[in-house]
Symmetry: C2
Subunit: 421 residues, 2 copies
């Protein structure tokens, strides 16, 4: 490696923080050592939770879904070289590991440096706890084109997603060379993370698109209450949970035997910005809403009977012999039994991006899923895109896929190490 | 009154909920009585907090600033009459009083009505506590034009704000006939409130613009820690606090002697969307950031010395005889002593609205202040607009002013009653 990851930010990273105009200044406050923590799950709960950055897998995947999200996709600068990319990922690793501990991006970075230099850290998270912050990095398919000599390293599974029926994608809200998912129980902490990582990238990479999410729409542990999406329905009841080790191992983590050795312990992230046509939905009668979803709205129980966590009985007929869960119900078409067993770890967020020209809230679901193979998502989404009764009320407007490498094992390693072999 | 406020939603309000297409349906679930609460301050803290809707003043003003905001400005429909306006405000009162108790907009409105009708309530807050929700209503200057026969009722103090030096206002993000400020400790609860009040208004009023805020930037009680804005500085240290009854009475609540009898117990709300040029700010050296603000960044202490809550010494010189707090420092120009004693109750929020075409975060401060007389804001803003060193790093892009009527005193009263006399 050309850069000693874990020892501090690179010169380029520091230049990003202080700005090109200050390049001649000596800048201080770069000596902070990362407090490595190899123990899985030191997190408690609430604002005081802290999750380890280093480990076999990246945090922010099977981690209990935090309440808030700031997600950003980045494109590398036209001038960026492979060395720049490697250095950027080492810088991001250094800063991310610190921030997930509730620390500034460099030691005393907000106010402890030279008064004659711009602070290394923007400071709005000063005094706030870690708030369960996790920072998860991913690599888009475009990173493996001919710019950085990585074409041969491209995971075979990492292809741009196919076009799905009904897609209305905005290219400016789709794709990206790199992504960062910052989740926390305090939005100020998540925003601080994306902002400071974006500063560090200055001159090397810039935000292509970003998304704030205000409410989680999935549980990833059995201890979490199932949240509701903006259709008012419980979402993620049947999600993969951290407490299901076989499901996590089988459906979430990539293995060397999948064909790309460096992705072992990693996973693939799909992001879909799904606008909800909430005015139409809101005028649909309750019975129809429940038929479309295939669950009752109050309890979240399948229409085939039982309570929230009762398994679906897809063939159970009504008195007149038709299936209680309709042929085009969302839960049926998303169910593993109709998708060759495919399951996803969902980790999406509700969003409201203000309002549109007609005075309607611009709102929906920022869908995020993690899966061992993108084919799992493609299978489920093909099933939904073709027939889901919910399609009348949603529009997919953004899309991206990223290879999420395994965790950096310990201090001194970079999240980019597996990429370069 | 033509409408029995507090007994249920009007027929028009229910039509808004179910949609024009369902006008012929009988709709159920409208009998819910509002649980009135005249006791000031039953709120505790955190997610379980609940503030009374009814009372002398509206909640959401001196109420301990909650963490999250959804604010919306509405315009009346071209077809709306004075009766429509009166009925809308009664409907909003009914629904708001319920939601601030953690209830649905009508009794069992999310799932307990007829399955053949659209639910009265959109349901995404089902199972969530009140989360400290407050809903605060205001009337814009345009409400008092010739459309509703209210010209003679217009408070003399309610004029459109003058143009300030440097204003770069977007008319589409400014003004409005009516406003609703929803604050809560859970953003899903605040979003649910605005969404459902917007539904109730269907056919009578529509959202003109709206804004989500993710982090409070002011304390309104002495028990709250001073938060930080996106410049990384503590904000609102010198704010009016609920525990200062003389300041609240003198600077926040309008009185009959101010010239508009029906505004007694009300106040005036100014909203300013202030975009921060955070990239430029982030490249400014710490010393200069502190000089611009007039406080140190870490502690929030005035540059004239002391700790966070030490009073400013505006004349205290440095060794070379120049004032330690610069002539153009933000805290100096905002200080009551240079503004004829004018003070504001600030209650703003940090916002991030995604990113712009250059890959920069579209972020800033959604400034909200409450004052007895808009002239207080005008005085302070004239002082700032002309000379504030901070102007290099901010841009005012939205602006609005509203008369905030007194609280509806008890169940059965409408927030609109004082308007119609």
């Amino acid at each position: 490696m050309t850069h000693e990851a874990g020892r501090g930010l690179s010169r380029r990273g520091l230049l990003g923080l202080v700005g090109a105009g200050a390049a001649g200044l000596a800048v201080g406050g770069t000596g902070g050592a990362v407090i490595a923590n190899g123990v899985a799950g030191i997190g408690t709960s609430g604002a005081a939770a802290s999750y380890p950055f280093f480990g076999e897998h990246q945090s922010g995947i099977v981690t209990a879904a935090q309440d808030r999200l700031h997600f950003a996709a980045f494109d590398l600068a036209a001038s960026a070289t492979a060395d720049d990319l490697r250095e950027l990922l080492a810088d991001w690793t250094f800063a991310a590991a610190r921030m997930t501990r509730g620390l500034e991006v460099t030691e005393d970075g907000a106010v402890g440096g030279s008064p004659l230099a711009p602070p290394d850290d923007t400071g709005e998270a000063l005094g706030l706890p870690a708030a369960g912050l996790t920072i998860t990095f991913g690599f888009g398919p475009s990173l493996f084109d001919d710019r950085f000599g990585l074409a041969a390293r491209r995971p075979a599974a990492l292809e741009p997603l196919p076009r799905f029926s009904g897609d209305a994608l905005d290219p400016a809200r789709s794709g990206g060379d790199l992504c960062i998912q910052a989740c926390a129980d305090d939005p100020q902490v998540a925003v601080h993370a994306i902002r400071n990582l974006s500063r560090i990238a200055f001159g090397r990479a810039a935000i292509r698109w970003s998304q704030l999410g205000f409410g989680r729409t999935s549980s990833t542990t059995t201890s979490q209450v199932t949240p509701r999406n903006l259709f008012g329905f419980k979402d993620g009841t049947a999600n993969i949970k951290a407490e299901e080790p076989d499901a996590v191992a089988g459906h979430v983590w990539a293995s060397a035997s999948d064909g790309t050795a460096w992705m072992a312990g990693g996973t693939y992230l799909v992001a879909r910005k799904i606008r909800m046509v909430i005015e139409s939905w809101d005028r649909t009668r309750l019975e129809e809403q429940q038929r479309v979803i295939g669950r009752d709205k109050g309890e979240g129980a399948p229409l085939s009977g039982g309570t929230e966590f009762t398994a679906l009985e897809l063939d159970k007929p009504d008195d007149d012999g038709t299936p209680r869960i309709a042929a085009d119900a969302h839960v049926r078409l998303a169910h593993p039994t109709v998708n060759g067993g495919a399951r996803l770890l969902r980790r999406g967020y509700n969003y409201v991006d203000g309002d549109d020209a007609l005075g309607r809230l611009d709102a929906g679901l920022f869908f995020l899923s993690f899966q061992r193979d993108p084919a799992q998502f493609v299978t489920v989404q093909r099933s939904l895109a073709g027939h889901d009764a919910l399609n009348e009320y949603i529009k997919h407007v953004g899309s991206a896929i990223f290879a999420v490498p395994p965790g950096a094992p310990a201090e001194g390693a970079s999240i980019g190490d597996p990429l370069f072999g």
